[in-house]
């Protein structure tokens, strides 16, 4: 991490010097966590859910994902890179994961690992968990950190619906670390495991080490950061064909994990739904909260459209990436869980009870009377506003503007429509002519 204090709990930060105040991010933020003040965008930390929508839309580069660079890993004697499945889809369709992985190793890692086998192990356990679950339905997938964060912050009553299972990346990271430390006879702390990530939200999970559960990763490098170096390495590998000597145990079935709808498909769960895109996720969570989806067994949830292929730090456009993924699945051609193969991760415990806890700021006991007064003040201010949600004041909607005025951060005259009306009124009553005439 190159920025921020210990307590900073977000994967992105706003660099004011680069912001040109165009406010593209203001409107895109699905949870109204951005304000523009004096021409510079800023984030309301207690509202942000790390979805990365603002990173995608900002053209000035003032919204910076907090990820690592190569330099951060020089302290480790041995490094292992574990790429997200999205990396396999970022190149020309003729370039196979084997080539990508061996080229990735050449860019400066001691070892690389593929996660598709771990995907199958995780899915097996998850399928069992869904089948045996007796509580309130539907169960919700927990692999998208943004979706988990939304639930922790805004829908704490749905926390028990999250499947408390570790992700295939984590599983691979744990196993690779253990293997390498046994093979090389060095301590695990000397081994750096790095995730090649399509989105910034993973970094929050990685940096968070709670008592119950901690990540085996030591950092994350965005796909976009590594892309150019990797692209060159791939060209060289293709020419020299030296990846022929490497072997990676890649499963075509495991690749379905990255596909939108892949989880339900892999678990063979016909009573499941898939939702992607942050606004759709919020809509479905509202529906679940109202009890509309009690008859669905499983909901696969992704903050980005087209799941991790749509991550803000990918390079290839998401539709091409999707085609690439489908081609890869066909190329490896396993349509169901492969039998007879030994499960490398069989002995691992994948389910962690109470893995997720509600997340909100510690509230001191509030004075209800004052709070209610404030609420009616907000309502009163809101009733006077034009309600066109223009955003010119720097708050995304008239409702948030009313909140900001009630908090004393803004003045009602910061609304350009109200100010304009006042001026027009004044002009009407203004009498032209010379004084004393």
């Amino acid at each position: 991490m190159n920025q921020g204090a210990e307590t900073y709990n977000h994967s992105i930060y706003f660099e004011p010097s680069r912001c040109n105040g165009e406010m593209a991010c203001l409107k895109i933020c699905p949870v109204e966590a951005i304000r523009v003040r004096s021409g510079k965008a800023k984030m309301l930390e207690e509202k942000c859910i790390d979805c990365g929508e603002c990173v995608k839309i900002c053209k000035t580069g003032s919204i910076v994902p907090l990820t690592n660079t190569f330099k951060d890993f020089s302290k480790f004697g041995y490094t292992i890179a574990i790429p997200s499945l999205a990396l396999y889809t970022q190149f020309d369709r003729n370039i196979k994961p084997k080539t990508i992985l061996s080229s990735l190793k050449k860019t400066g890692f001691n070892e690389v690992a593929d996660i598709t086998r771990a995907c199958i192990s995780v899915i097996r356990t998850m399928g069992r968990y869904v089948k045996e679950y007796k509580g309130r339905k539907p169960l919700i997938s927990s692999f998208c950190p943004t979706c988990v964060k939304i639930i922790q912050m805004r829908y704490p009553e749905l926390i028990d619906n999250l499947i408390p299972i570790i992700s295939p990346m984590e599983l691979t990271a744990k196993e690779s670390k253990r293997e390498a430390s046994a093979r090389l006879e060095i301590d695990e702390s000397e081994i750096g495991v790095i995730y090649i990530t399509p989105c910034p939200s993973k970094t929050v999970i990685i940096s968070k080490k709670t008592e119950k559960y901690y990540s085996a990763f030591d950092g994350a490098i965005p796909v976009s950061e590594i892309y150019n170096t990797l692209y060159d390495a791939i060209q060289k590998t293709v020419k020299s064909r030296d990846d022929d000597f490497e072997f990676f145990d890649i499963s075509g079935f495991g690749l379905n994990f990255a596909r939108l709808g892949g989880l339900g498909f892999m678990m063979n769960c016909d009573n499941s739904i898939t939702v992607s895109g942050i606004n759709n996720v919020l809509y479905i969570l509202d529906e679940i909260e109202k009890g509309k989806l009690h008859n669905v067994d499983f909901v696969e949830m992704h903050g980005c459209t087209e799941a991790c292929l749509g991550g803000p730090m990918n390079i290839e456009n998401v539709y091409l990436a999707r085609t690439n993924l489908h081609n890869l699945i066909n190329y490896y051609g396993e349509s169901r869980i492969p039998f007879g193969k030994k499960d490398k991760y069989e002995t691992y415990n994948l389910i962690y009870e109470n893995m997720f806890e509600p997340e909100y700021k510690d509230d001191v006991n509030i004075d209800i009377k004052k709070a209610l007064a404030k609420r009616s003040e907000r309502k009163k201010i809101y009733s006077e506003l034009p309600k066109i949600n223009c955003g010119a004041c720097g708050s995304p909607t008239c409702k948030t503007f009313a909140e900001d005025v009630a908090e004393g951060e803004l003045n009602i005259n910061d609304c350009i429509i109200i100010t304009n009306n006042i001026l027009e009124e004044k002009l009407k009553n203004f009498e032209f002519g010379m004084p004393g005439e």
Binding site: P156, D286, H294, P358, I366
Partner: protein
């Protein structure tokens, strides 16, 4: 001791209205959130309200939910016109349900409704008259 009522609102719930199921508890949750009540309390209130609301929608014809906030508690009184509960002791047992097959297919009727309200509230009372209706009273402390 009578406490000063700081906020009061009455919601109406219509039985069998599955299209609008859950909307009243979502509204209550929204109000509590806007005031800035502690999330744990909001969570408990919304669970209780949701269960109570679903009971009305599944079994009763009509109900009014009286929602009150005082300086240190949330009080909800729910009066419905409906079939009433024959055996309250049995209805309070976890897993007991009179839900029809159709309701169960919709994912309801696990027999956890009333026990869930009792477990999540600080004070809970229930009265019922057969063929007339049920009156539910529960209270959740704010602090």
């Amino acid at each position: 001791m009578e406490q000063e009522i700081l906020y009061n609102k009455i919601f109406r719930i219509v039985g069998r209205d599955f299209a609008n199921a859950g909307t009243v508890s979502v509204k209550i949750k929204k109000i509590l959130k806007e005031i800035g009540i502690k999330p744990e309390v909001v969570y408990r209130v919304s669970i209780c309200c949701y269960e109570a609301e679903m009971n009305v929608i599944m079994y009763a014809r009509f109900a009014k939910m009286d929602f009150t906030i005082t300086s240190d508690e949330v009080i909800i009184i729910l009066e419905d016109e409906g079939p009433g509960i024959e055996n309250i002791e049995l209805a309070m047992k976890e897993g007991f349900s009179t839900a029809t097959q159709e309701m169960r297919e919709l994912g309801f009727g696990a027999g956890l409704g009333l026990p869930n309200i009792k477990n999540n509230s600080d004070e809970f009372k229930i009265e019922s008259e057969l063929l007339k209706g049920t009156k539910l009273y529960f209270k959740i402390n704010l602090n």
